[in-house]
């Protein structure tokens, strides 16, 4: 599976340096780890364990938010975004390709231990869907909405609920960056009144709702709610396909760390954003899919040994998400480990002399336990 670009490269080098034939065999093993298929639609089992490239412009367009922080740093360092094709992602893509859009949306829950690549799998799927032309509703981390909120406003729409203007406005900005096309095409079905003077007429493009939310930060959460409802109704009709991608879905059920001014704790239903998101995740609409990830790392009040959906979602969440398709993500297989190691070597990320030897590789595998996050952290100082 040598891609054409690299084959030309090797031929050119072989032509230039006709004396040293050692270059040519050395080039080939490196290229085995990469694949030229940058369209996730064409990924299949033969690409398993290999890394594919996402052009940087696409990265900015598709993932304004949502990539893990360390991966973003790696993109900046290596000046390219390489994502590994792994089996759970391939499984999910196969399901999505074969899913019947007339049926209610199927829910997929990606779960696994810490640092095994759940968020990256989700990003892979999001990339595929955006390539296919779906409308992607990507919430990078639902945990951000249930903790560390500085401002809580009482909602004007419903007096019991609380608004979070900052988080809502941040999310709206990113959503606008990723889905410009849809925001121009889709129209509102109802008239919405934001306050005494502002209102949105029926039939206006959804982009206006987003602008309204960004301009008037106080009503940002309501704008988000309106957006979600509109999108759900319209996808139900079948004009486009919708992917709801939520990272850290276990934050929607459970507890929050937020308190009201009178020091009474807030439960998730009382937050507008969470309430609306729960409605999205319910499978009472059709024409798309819901892909979610469980995350223990950002979760509040959960023990660090909890990995399974049952533990992390709690009874309430489990009942709400039931039935779903569980997709476990495990540590690197030996082949995946080799390709990741080969990639680091090729990009000269591993500077230590011993890291280039077989012994060094065995050491890295032992010490990281083939866990992607541990390997990344280990390879950093080397």
């Amino acid at each position: 599976q040598l891609d054409h670009g690299r084959a030309l490269h090797t031929a050119a080098r072989a032509g230039l340096s006709s004396v040293s034939t050692r270059d040519v065999p050395a080039e080939r093993p490196r290229a085995v780890f990469h694949t030229s298929e940058s369209d996730p639609a064409k990924h299949s089992e033969q690409h398993e364990g290999r890394l594919y490239n996402i052009p940087l412009e696409e990265v900015k367009a598709v993932f304004p938010h949502g990539l893990p922080y360390r991966f973003q740093q790696q993109i900046q360092t290596f000046n390219e975004a390489r994502v590994m094709v792994r089996r759970p992602a391939l499984e999910l893509l196969a399901y999505l390709k074969g899913s019947n859009l007339a049926h209610p949306a199927v829910r997929y829950v990606i779960y696994g231990e810490r640092g095994t690549g759940k968020t990256m799998t989700l990003c892979h799927v999001v990339h595929y869907c955006s390539r296919q032309g779906w409308l992607v509703l990507h919430i990078p981390d639902a945990h951000l909405w249930v903790k560390n909120c500085k401002e809580l406003l009482q909602s004007s729409y419903n007096k019991d609920r609380l608004d979070q203007p900052l988080q809502a406005s941040v999310w709206l900005k990113n959503f606008k960056a990723s889905n410009e096309r849809f925001l121009r095409e889709l129209k509102t079905q109802k008239k919405y009144t934001w306050g005494k003077r502002e209102s949105t007429e029926e039939g206006r493009p959804l982009g206006e709702v987003v602008e309204q939310g960004l301009a008037r930060v106080r009503s940002a959460s309501d704008a988000v709610g309106v957006l979600l409802r509109e999108i759900k109704q319209q996808s139900h009709r079948g004009s486009f396909r919708l992917l709801v991608a939520v990272d850290g879905v276990n934050a929607l059920w459970g507890r929050t760390t937020l308190r009201r001014e009178d020091r009474s704790p807030v439960s998730p239903e009382e937050l507008t954003l969470v309430h609306n998101l729960r409605k999205m995740v319910r499978n009472d609409w059709s024409g798309g899919a819901i892909v979610t990830t469980l995350s223990q790392t950002g979760s509040v009040f959960k023990p660090s040994s909890a990995h399974t959906p049952h533990e992390l979602l709690g009874k309430e969440g489990f009942d709400a998400l039931d039935p779903f398709v569980p997709i476990p993500v495990a540590n690197y297989s030996p082949r995946e480990f080799e390709s990741c190691y080969g990639y680091y070597l090729e990009r000269k990320w591993l500077q230590h002399e011993k890291a280039h030897t077989e012994d060094g590789k065995a050491e890295l595998q032992f010490l990281s336990g083939s866990n992607p996050r541990q390997l990344d952290r280990l390879a950093g100082p080397l």
Binding site: S305, D359, A362, E363, Q365, F366, L367, G369, N371, Q374, L378
Partner: protein
């Protein structure tokens, strides 16, 4: 006599036997021996055992039972031993009733040392004469070297105890030089008996330790066990052959049990040293201690288990690398008058 005020333990440790004429008379020692034997029979009677077949071990056990003590120093506890072990050997009076000394070298001051030197030199001359005779008869010289590798000469203190008088460093070195010269001669094995009085065996460290052979379980996979400890942690490890490098601790994976990199590096060390990182599987159980102590205990246990898989030379390398030694460091006791084991209270001027 000068009394030394600031002394070290080495200086203070004097050879009591060599410090002058006797402080205990012979009659006193004899009486002590009689009392000891009588006391031994009484003790045997008390314990309900046969007085005739009451050995020293039985005495020790009986005393430990009758006078239990919580003191840490074994030599501070009550003991009952034969007077010859309790009272150190001393020189008897070396002159007769008329004041005339028995030994001809008495007035040199170090009579036993000089008599020893004379004896050794006599042997030396004998061997040389024998050698000369044989060369005169034109017989070939035998060259049989003694094995000096596993033996050492007596130390100065041991020699002092043997001679019951003080030596100086110079005297001691001269004696050792003479012995070396004697041993270097070809026919020195005539005097082998005499030389053996002054040499001691030094067994190689490793010969004491027995390496267990490999055991095989149901599927025919070879495995071996090892135990290790560090501070308060105790660990047992079972290392299996033909593995993939998976390690399980107390039923969980090492990534979960030891989230810290340092602990995992400790576990890696024995395998990395032998170059067998991905070849063995390991299942261990560990209890007690803290995170670091448990890691050290497992490391020692796995190194001991790996001895069975590896050649003797590599075992010696492991020993020299410190993989097979128990780490003796434990928490030091807090002393009264101080805040911790070493830290003193804050010193206030007034």
């Amino acid at each position: 006599t000068l009394r030394l005020i600031c002394t070290t333990a080495a200086v203070q440790r004097k050879n009591v036997g060599a410090s002058g004429p006797e402080k205990y008379t012979e009659a006193f020692i004899k009486k002590q021996i009689e009392e000891f034997n009588l006391g031994k029979r009484h003790l045997a009677n008390m314990m309900g055992e046969d007085p005739e077949t009451f050995t020293q071990e039985d005495i020790d056990r009986a005393i430990a039972y009758l006078f239990p003590s919580g003191l840490f120093d074994k030599q501070a506890r009550p003991m009952m031993k034969h007077p010859t072990e309790v009272f150190p050997e001393q020189r008897k009076i070396q002159w007769g009733e008329d004041g005339r000394p028995f030994h001809f070298l008495f007035y040199t001051g170090k009579q036993s040392y000089y008599s020893l030197m004379h004896e050794t030199y006599e042997k030396f001359l004998n061997v040389q004469k024998h050698q000369d005779q044989l060369t005169a008869q034109d017989l070939p010289l035998q060259k049989e070297k003694r094995n000096l590798a596993g033996s050492r000469w007596l130390t100065k203190i041991e020699l002092e105890e043997m001679l019951l008088e003080k030596l100086s460093d110079d005297d001691y070195s001269r004696f050792i030089q003479l012995l070396e010269k004697l041993v270097a001669l070809p026919y020195a094995d005539m005097e082998e008996n005499y030389i053996q009085k002054f040499s001691k065996e030094v067994p190689v460290q490793l010969q004491k330790v027995v390496i267990e052979p490999l055991q095989y379980d149901e599927q025919g996979v070879a495995f071996s066990t090892g135990e290790g400890k560090r501070k308060t942690a105790r660990a047992t490890a079972v290392v299996y052959d033909n593995g993939t490098g998976k390690i399980t601790v107390n039923g969980t994976d090492i990534l979960h049990y030891f989230p810290v990199l340092q602990d995992r590096e400790q576990l890696l060390f024995p395998f990395q040293f032998l170059g067998r990182i991905g070849k063995h599987d390991m299942v261990c159980t560990v209890s007690g201690g803290g995170r670091s102590a448990q890691a050290g205990a497992i490391r020692l246990a796995s190194a001991k288990a790996l001895r069975s898989f590896v050649t003797e030379q590599e075992v010696e390398f492991m020993r020299q690398a410190g993989l097979l030694t128990v780490d003796p460091r434990v928490k030091e006791r807090k002393k009264p008058g101080q805040e911790g084991p070493r830290r003193k209270f804050t010193w206030k001027k007034r």
